[in-house]
Amino acid sequence: MPEFLAELLSQNDIFTASTIMEYWGGLVTTVQLVFLSLVLGLVLAVPLAILRTSKNPLINAPVWFYTYIFRGTPLLIQLYIIYYGLAQIEGIQQTFWWEIFRGAFYPALLAFTLNTAAYTTEIIRGAIVATPSGEIEAAKAYGMSWALRMRRIILPSAARRAVQAYSNEVIFMLHASAIASVVTLVDLTGAARNIYSRFYAPFDAFIFVALIYMALTFMLVFAFRKLENYLLQHQRPVSG
């Protein structure tokens, strides 16, 4: 640790090494939670979005219903229903599921995953629907099967259109993850709340954590801008 930092910490009542470690633990929890829920949500959302664009109402209606429910209600309520509700399921306490869901992490992960999957499904659906019909016709003319067309033409082209909206969803998820602190999980916000109540120092505790969130947000914005540049490289005007 640089000397000036050590000196600063030793003179500070609140930001001692132990509170910094508490924030660090919170940061790890937040990043794990957000990263896992985004990956799982994306994995769920791609097939759901394809089903959602199906013309058969028996296939697309259930997916529509799922996204409608999860997008029409607050994430906090979904978290409460899953966190408090899972424990009430008859007989769950005798199965191995109870070992997984008795803590707060996995219920929160489940709620976040289902929520982000619903939003992502709609984002990808919008991108798939907007595929220029000429691209699909050309693929058909080449004799591509449905699966090949999906994999080679429609999904890559949809990914380019979806990336902007998806970056907003990722940032939204990072911010929404703060509510995990409500179900006793010590994420970044949870750590800030603990430190606030220990020192009764709302400004120090919350402004510090706000700065961490802000740094995370700007890192994500930067990463997505790079990704967008990469995906849309072929569309950039040629300039000298």
Binding site: Y68, I77, Y80, S177, T189, A192, F206, Y213, T217
Partner: protein, 234 residues
């Protein structure tokens, strides 16, 4: 009808609190959004810098963290102010910072930033010839704004406004965390006391769902009205 174990009236009161909170925050966010958008489009460098800092700061911080900061920090700030006033001028001033006020301020401030972006885009979408024509007719700045710019920008702003409102409505659930007895709070207490989470949370979820569904219809109607004079390609 489902049996709400006597929590029915409390839930209904909570729903009213939620709606009040949402509407008041909406009003605040619309006002801040208009001011923010005007500042961003003004020629003053200071105004642009302030507005840009505001929208950037808001977009970087989670709503819950900001709410906790405002609620707990707000009370400390009020206490400090009241101590200072008493020491310096002997004024006895005290003000209880309640969750409702903290909620309206936070949500209004957060969505004000999003509204500012929406309005900025909508202002820019108004044809500059329209504004020049209004000036040529000798309209004052205010009159140009409310007769020419406002009706024409509304059409461009509505989709964004509608989106923001739907998100805002769902964000009001967070105020239950700082202790406001809205319907989420009532449902949480009832669910814990009766050990019946599904029984209380699902009706509340349903209320939110119907509020968003009604808003959707209303926004559709408004969009139709705002687009009355526009010729659309078939």
């Amino acid at each position: 009808m489902i049996d709400l174990k006597g929590y029915g009236p409390a839930l209904l009161d909570g729903a009213v609190v939620t709606i009040e909170l949402a509407l008041l925050s909406l009003a605040l966010s619309l006002a801040l959004g208009l001011i923010g958008a005007s500042a961003k489009l003004s020629k003053s460098r200071v105004a642009i810098a302030i507005a840009t800092t505001y929208t950037t700061l808001i977009r970087g911080v989670p709503d819950l963290v900001m709410m906790l900061l405002f609620y707990y920090g707000g009370q400390v700030a009020v206490n400090n102010l009241s101590d200072y006033l008493y020491d310096a001028y002997g004024v006895d001033f005290f003000f209880q910072f309640d969750p409702f006020i903290a909620g309206v301020l936070t949500i209004g401030l957060i969505f004000g930033a999003y509204m500012a972006e929406t309005f900025r885009g909508a202002f820019l979408a108004v044809d500059s010839g329209q504004i020049e024509a209004a000036r040529a007719y000798g309209f004052s700045r205010w009159r140009t704004f409310h007769r020419i710019i406002l009706p024409q920008m509304l059409r461009h702003a509505l989709p964004g406004l509608g989106n923001n409102w739907q998100v805002l409505l769902k964000t009001t659930a967070l105020v239950s965390i700082i202790g406001l007895t809205d319907m989420v709070r009532v449902a949480e207490e009832a669910a814990k006391a009766e050990r019946m989470p599904f029984h209380f949370f699902i009706p509340v979820a349903f209320v939110y769902l119907s509020l968003t569904a009604i808003s959707e219809l209303f926004i559709k109607w408004l969009t139709k009205r705002a687009n009355v004079g526009v010729v659309q390609g078939s």
